[in-house]
Every structure is written in C-alpha cells, then in structure tokens.
Subunit: 152 residues, 2 copies
DNA sequence: CAAATATATTTGCATTGACAAATATACTTG
DNA sequence: CAAGTATATTTGTCAATGCAAATATATTTG
C-alpha cells in the first residue's frame, strides 16, 4: 500500500522534499559507483575533488562555500584527503592566512578514474529527459537558487 | 573575485551540486522563518509535522521513508516531538509492532501556524518561474527521481 | 606605528544521522 | 502448535557536520 497510496495521497510533493529525495538518490548512486571501484570516498570528498579538478586550486573557504560545507568540516575533510595523498595545502604567498588547496598527481589521476562514474550517474539520472529538458531543468534550478539567494 | 570568477569558471554546475545548493538554501530559509517565529524546530522536524498534517497518521517506518530518514533517527525525532507535545505514539490495533503516529491538537495548531512559512519560502523560491515552469520543474524532478530509483 | 577590527583556518563541543545489534511482535511452515 | 523467519521499533556506536571559541595573519584607523 506504499507507493500506491503515496502516489495517490501526494498530488504534488513539495519542492523541498523532492529536492531532498532526488539528491539522496544521486548521493546513493555515486557512493555505490565509488564503492564498486573499491574506493573509500564519501560523496562530500568526491565533490571536493571534483571542484579542484574542474576549477583548479582555491582556498579552503572558497572550496567550502562551493560545496555548501561548513569551514570546520572542510578542515577535517582536507585532513582526510591530504592524508590519502590526493591534495596538498600550500600557503598563499601574499596572504599567509589563506591556503591554496591543490590536487597532487595522485589526486589528478584519481579524478581521471572518477570522471566516468560521475558521467554515468548523471546521465542515468537524466536519461528520461531529452536534451532540451535537461537544459531547462538546469536553468530552472539556477533561477530558483538565485531567487533564494537574492532576497530582494 | 568570488561570484564573478565562479560564474565565469562554472559554465554548468553539475546536477548533484546544484540540487545540494538549492536544497541547502531552502533549508536555511525555512529554519530562518521558524526561528523568526520563536520556534525551535529543525527542518527535519518541520518535514515530519508537515507529512503528518498533510497525510494523516502513519507508522514510523512510513514516515521515515517519506522524509528520507533512517529509522533510528526517526525514533529520536519522534522522542523530541512527542516531548514537545506535538504528536502521539499509539500502538496499531492489529499489528502491535507498529506505531501509529498522530498529531496532537497542539501539533495541529502548530501546523496551522507553520503552513504559511512553508508557502512563503516555496513561493519565494519559485518566484522567478512562471506557473508552467513551476510545473515543469516539478515534473522533471519527479522523472529524474524515478529514473534513479528504477535502475532498469 | 599601536590598537582595533576583519578574515582564514583550526579546534572543541554538541547534535544529527547511518548502520548494526537488540527486542518485541507477527507470520509461515512443517 | 513450535520453530524459524520476517517486520517494526528502539538503542548503541561512530562518523560527519554546524557552531562557537581560539589562533594566526591582514587591514584599517586614530
């Protein structure tokens, strides 16, 4: 009586819940892919590596903001990832408060291996949307994000 | 150099990240609304109350699944919410393993007060989408969810 | 330039949630 | 009906996170 009655009783899932459900499934799927490769990486760690691989070195604070993670939590994730040898903390030349986090060669190599997990999960997720719809979904989400951030 | 360079360097945020960002903003906004009302409720607790208010009494397991929460975590949230007097655990008549979680009068009253927070946040979030687009966004997300769940 | 203020990172602490083991009750099968 | 199996909830334990305080470095102001 479960998915049946839910489908009936829930004419329209609220946006907050729906986003949570979708995101949870993506996290699950990604972690399954990672585990299948024998890698012991959390989704958060995966995101951090991805950021660095895609955007290049940046400070801990920038990194934290971009993956929506608290600064303290970021410190600890950096400890883990540095411990595994995937990244390096360098001091910024001009501003010695600031770190410059950069991938090591091992980190780069790891990302090469991860990039297709990433693609596989995302395309599986969006497989029932055609190209136009995927772009629209993206656009809508960006607009919602901006609406929430710019509280005019 | 922040939002500027991000906007430049990020041609297209990946779906996983984007969902996380949007969801985090919604959670923040909702918790701010709750705090502004002097209520000490987490987003999770808010969701639980909402489920019960919208769908009526159900078991702890159903409730947990519907808000994507672990069973053990649900037990503790129920402890809190029962402690605050917003809900009641009743034993199911036929199956005495199962609980029937139902809102108390105080819980109902609380939801009356919360329902407009909820509406306010959701309509603020979607204010830059017209009616059609809101429906589409919803539809796309549902389809993505199903694609992820039915791993054919 | 010294003091006050601001920013980046780290650390301490409390809370949350996932996972697994324990418990209680129901169902199934021989 | 007894034994074994399945399901619902609770509890123990641990990792992850948010928040606040501490520390280090920069910047601003008088």
């Amino acid at each position: 009586m479960n998915s049946e009655s839910l489908a009936f009783a829930t004419p329209r899932e609220s946006l907050g819940v729906l986003l949570g459900l979708v995101r949870a499934e993506i996290v699950r799927a990604m972690e399954a892919e990672l585990a299948a490769k024998g890698l012991n990486l959390s989704f958060t760690q995966f995101l951090i590596l991805k950021r660095l691989a895609r955007l290049g070195p940046m400070s801990a604070t920038e990194l934290a903001r971009s993956v929506e993670l608290d600064g303290g939590a970021m410190t600890r994730q950096l400890d883990h990832l540095e411990g595994k040898g995937y990244l390096r903390r360098c001091r910024h030349e001009q501003d010695r408060r600031t770190l410059r986090i950069e991938l090591t060669d091992a980190g780069d190599a790891l990302w090469q291996e991860l990039t297709d997990c990433n693609d596989r999960v995302l395309s599986a997720a969006q497989r029932s949307l055609d190209e136009t719809e995927q772009v629209q979904l993206h656009d809508y989400l960006e607009r919602v994000l901006h609406a929430l951030r710019d509280k005019n």
